[in-house]
């Protein structure tokens, strides 16, 4: 085998993208956990870890650029690097969204929510599974588990619509709840965004594996 170092560097790149993806997933899941359990400490940890993810993103991006400039990758290698460079942006956004949810946790403090959290945890569960499936598909180059992503994204969108409408009704009926209810509206919107990011990631992984570009979600 020639170009041994190059191939090792490519493997390492994939491992680090996976690592970044796991951190993004943690941000998404921990922030929701903090919201449900009113855990301010956990919310703060999510915010702190955002910086680690940002650093990792820059590092991975630099290494991708270097590989392109120095090794002139072709075919599947080029698709892997192109995919890495694209999906780290979505992973970064997911972790930012986790941070936004953590901010909401810190802002609402112990104030009770205007309605019990039922649909938001459902949205969180679906979107976290979508992140997990992206990571699995990326590491195993198995895209079967991504096939129903558009459908899953539709469910997430529908849940968001439903939550938003419910909360607007509550706000109209009881204007005092506006601050509290709008926090929840935002959380639902953030989760809907995570769904969109996972669709972007999934469509890039499909391209990486098959060479075919296809929009999801």
């Amino acid at each position: 085998m020639i170009r041994k170092e190059y191939i090792e560097e490519l493997d390492k790149l994939k491992r680090d993208v996976l690592k970044m993806g796991k951190l993004a997933k943690d941000a998404a899941s921990n922030s929701i956990k903090a919201l449900i359990e009113r855990d301010a400490e956990l919310a703060k940890r999510v915010l702190n870890e955002n910086a680690v993810i940002d650093d990792l993103e820059f590092d991975i991006e630099n290494r991708c650029m270097k590989l392109i400039a120095l090794q002139q990758p072709m075919a599947v290698d080029l698709r892997v690097i192109g995919t890495c460079i694209k999906i780290i942006t979505d992973f970064d956004r997911i972790s930012d969204v986790g941070g936004d949810i953590a901010e909401v946790v810190l802002r609402v403090g112990d104030e009770p929510f205007v309605k019990p959290l039922i649909d938001i945890p459902r949205m969180a569960e679906i979107t976290q599974k979508m992140i997990d499936d992206c990571l699995e598909a990326f590491s195993k180059e198995n895209i079967e588990i991504l096939e129903d992503f558009s459908k899953r994204d539709d469910i997430v969108d529908a849940l968001y619509d439903q939550i938003r409408r419910e909360l607007i009704t509550i706000m109209i009926e009881r204007p005092k709840t506006i601050s509290n209810a709008s926090h929840l509206t935002f959380v639902a919107l953030y989760l809907e965004r995570i769904g969109d990011h996972t669709c972007n990631i999934a469509s890039r992984i499909i391209y990486m594996v098959t060479g075919v570009k296809k929009k999801l979600g």
Binding site: M1, I2, R3, Q72, P73, M74, A75, V76, L78, G211
Partner: protein, 274 residues
């Protein structure tokens, strides 16, 4: 199996490639089951491909896979090599150019070749370019015009317009290569064959030759052998990958370099070969 591959390629890619017609006036170059032997050694094994008019086709593959051998089929230069035999057909403009009845010298006026190492004659810049047309009895103002136009087309005019009488050997390597291209253009060919035309050149001269090839494509059918994968990706429309005399994959260049079908192609272009 190769023919099957070619058929598949024709089916799902180029509809107009399906037109295998060998009628007069068809300007694509149809390579049919070509085999080339050096004595007992077979250097080209049953190669079939269709080269469309006014496109750039790149031939790539490891050293010794037969690229130059195949290229020499198009201008019958293999005829000059003792012990070299060619079987199969190359249909172009309704004729099989491998047919013994086709005069190779006449053929070479329609199919020009530019080599890896610039090989200008030890004559003046003017005489190098005028050489071909002169043989055809062209002289005077008409010859001057052909020389000027060919040098201009080869993007060399600004470099040499004030010293056409000087020896071509005084030019730099990149300029000599463009002079050789001008010399080829002066015979008014329709197909131009390039065998690693940039391998002896610096990046600037290489960029000039590449720009030139892109320009020439408007009027000529171009087949180029290159070891530089990025160069193939930059200038060609279709790319053919060869391995040990066999055509492994032939497709649009973007497909070959982004998502090749064959594992062997992928291993080669990603540097995992061997």
């Amino acid at each position: 199996m190769l023919n099957q591959k070619l058929e598949m390629f024709i089916d799902d890619r180029y509809d107009d490639f399906q037109d295998n017609s060998e009628e007069h006036g068809s300007n694509k170059v149809i390579v049919r089951n070509v085999n080339v032997y050096y004595g007992d050694i077979q250097a080209i094994i049953d190669v079939s491909m269709i080269i469309k008019e006014k496109t750039v086709t790149a031939l790539i593959g490891p050293s010794g896979c037969g690229k130059s051998t195949l290229l020499r089929c198009f201008d019958r230069m293999n005829d000059e090599i003792t012990g070299c035999r060619t079987k199969g057909k190359i249909i172009w403009r309704g004729n099989d150019i491998l047919d013994k009845k086709v005069d190779p010298v006449a053929l070479r006026h329609k199919v020009g070749m530019v080599f890896q190492k610039p090989n200008p004659f030890p004559k003046s810049i003017y005489d190098n370019v005028a050489f071909g047309p002169k043989i055809h009895g062209i002289k005077g103002k008409r010859l001057d015009d052909i020389v000027e136009n060919s040098i201009k087309q080869a993007a060399l005019w600004e470099d040499v317009k004030d010293r056409l009488g000087e020896s071509a050997l005084k030019l730099s390597g990149g300029q000599q290569q463009r002079l050789c291209i001008a010399r080829t253009l002066a015979i008014d060919p329709e197909v131009i064959l390039f065998d690693e035309p940039c391998s002896a050149l610096d990046p600037i001269s290489t960029a000039k030759i590449e720009a030139l090839i892109r320009e020439l494509k408007k009027d000529y059918t171009i087949i180029i052998v290159t070891h530089n994968m990025q160069q193939a990706a930059r200038i060609s429309d279709c790319t053919a990958f060869f391995l040990m005399g066999e055509l492994i994959e032939f497709d649009k260049t973007s497909k070959i370099f982004e998502n090749p079908k064959d594992k062997k192609t992928e291993d080669y272009i990603t540097g995992r070969f061997g």
